[in-house]
């Protein structure tokens, strides 16, 4: 059933191309056809459920820098999924894409998360605010140039920040991040662990003065 889906879609939208996929059918489409393709899939192919909407950051300087990925499900045909990918327009700092909230209300929070984490501006979104980080946070954490530990900035509430003197700091990695070893036969060795052993109990501890305690 899903085998004739991609040919039908490509007959309707000649610019669509196959996308490498190990499981479900997937297509690449240009951004200006994205909404038309998604509307076609929803209205004529029964993909009533938007199961996920996310983005890929291909690293700084890549072109396209960001690719949007939509996962759709057709409940009338259980087990039928399709994945649609489209490159973002706009600049690296402010990538843009059309909103699909008008097609699936479920896209609302997904697009807010995408905006929060990657900084993608969805044109036509009814309420494009951050959803995980707080309003006014100056970065987009899932971008490749953003370090896992974070970047020092201010607490969300000014008077609390002033009262406690605490700031948002770059987290001390303390030997982390914890990464698994791919291809390791010994499962104990493959477990996620800190590769930097300098912060183990047998070694000296790094300077912790940045972690100032609040005095009573």
């Amino acid at each position: 059933m899903s085998a004739d889906l991609v040919p039908a879609l490509k007959a309707r939208f000649p610019q669509a191309t196959d996308r490498a996929s190990v499981d479900h059918p997937a297509v690449n489409v240009p951004l200006d056809e994205l909404v038309a393709v998604l509307r076609y899939l929803r209205d004529e192919q029964g993909f009533d459920v938007l199961t996920d909407l996310t983005a890929i950051d291909w690293a700084e300087g890549a072109s396209p820098r960001f690719t949007l990925v939509y996962h759709l499900h057709a409940p009338g045909r259980p087990g039928t999924y399709v994945r649609v990918a489209a490159p973002c327009a706009g600049t690296e700092r402010e990538p843009t894409a059309p909103s699909v909230v008008s097609l699936w209300p479920a896209a609302d929070w997904h697009e807010r998360e995408c905006f929060d984490m990657f900084g993608i501006r969805f044109a036509g979104h009814p309420d494009l605010r951050r959803i995980l980080m707080w309003d006014g946070y100056p970065y987009h954490p899932l971008r490749k140039e953003f370090p896992l530990a974070g970047i020092e900035t201010d607490l969300p509430v000014a008077d609390i920040a002033q009262e406690t003197g605490t700031r948002v700091i770059a987290a001390p990695m303390a030997g982390g991040p914890f990464v698994a070893s791919a291809g390791e036969i010994n499962l104990t060795e493959a477990e996620p662990r800190a590769k930097d052993e300098s912060w183990a109990d047998r070694g000296a501890r790094p300077d912790q003065t940045a972690l100032r305690q609040v005095k009573e």
Partner: protein, 169 residues
């Protein structure tokens, strides 16, 4: 009132009904045995906190079973879980709203140090925000560990100069 009664200084009739003690001992005894927690449940540690309040572990044996969701009525904030930077100002705000004397237990690895969340989103230890009295290790800690922390806190409160603080505050 001036009285001519000869037994003004000592009345043998009330002898059995009088206890002589220090104010510190009395105040601390009252405080330690009725320490109402402010359950700051932020993550999975809160589940263990609920177990502590349940029949099996029964924190009421230590006088701390009255979980208050109003900071005005609570004495001891139990920070149970991961404190994100987004939540951190609210944690401090609730601590500020609690009436003194007040204490804080940092329950579990996340509240104590950020735990495994070495990340941009997580406060690296609630002691950067509020003064912590007792830290509990574990991820999450066993209910017994929290009971032990409460007993440790009670032992600490018993040594406080409560009267001096009352009159100096």
């Amino acid at each position: 009132m001036v009285s001519a009664s000869a037994d003004l200084g000592y009345d043998s009739k009330v002898e059995g009904g009088v206890i002589v003690s220090r104010a510190d001992a009395v105040i601390n005894w009252i405080r330690t045995n009725s320490m109402w927690p402010m359950p700051m449940g932020l993550a999975c540690c809160a589940i263990e906190l609920m177990a502590v309040g349940g029949a099996r572990f029964d924190i009421s044996r230590f006088g701390a079973e009255v979980m208050r969701f109003s900071p005005r009525q609570s004495d001891c904030m139990i920070v149970a879980g991961t404190v994100t930077y987004k939540m951190a100002p609210q944690v401090r705000r609730i601590y500020d709203q609690m009436a003194a004397p007040k204490w804080v237990i940092a329950m579990g690895a996340c509240a104590s140090s950020g735990g495994m969340y070495r990340s941009y989103a997580v406060l690296q230890g609630v002691d950067r925000l509020v003064p912590v009295d007792v830290y509990v290790s574990g991820c999450p800690p066993r209910p017994e560990a929290l009971l032990d922390a409460l007993m440790k806190l009670q032992a600490k409160v018993r040594t406080e100069p409560a009267t001096r603080r009352l009159f100096s505050a």
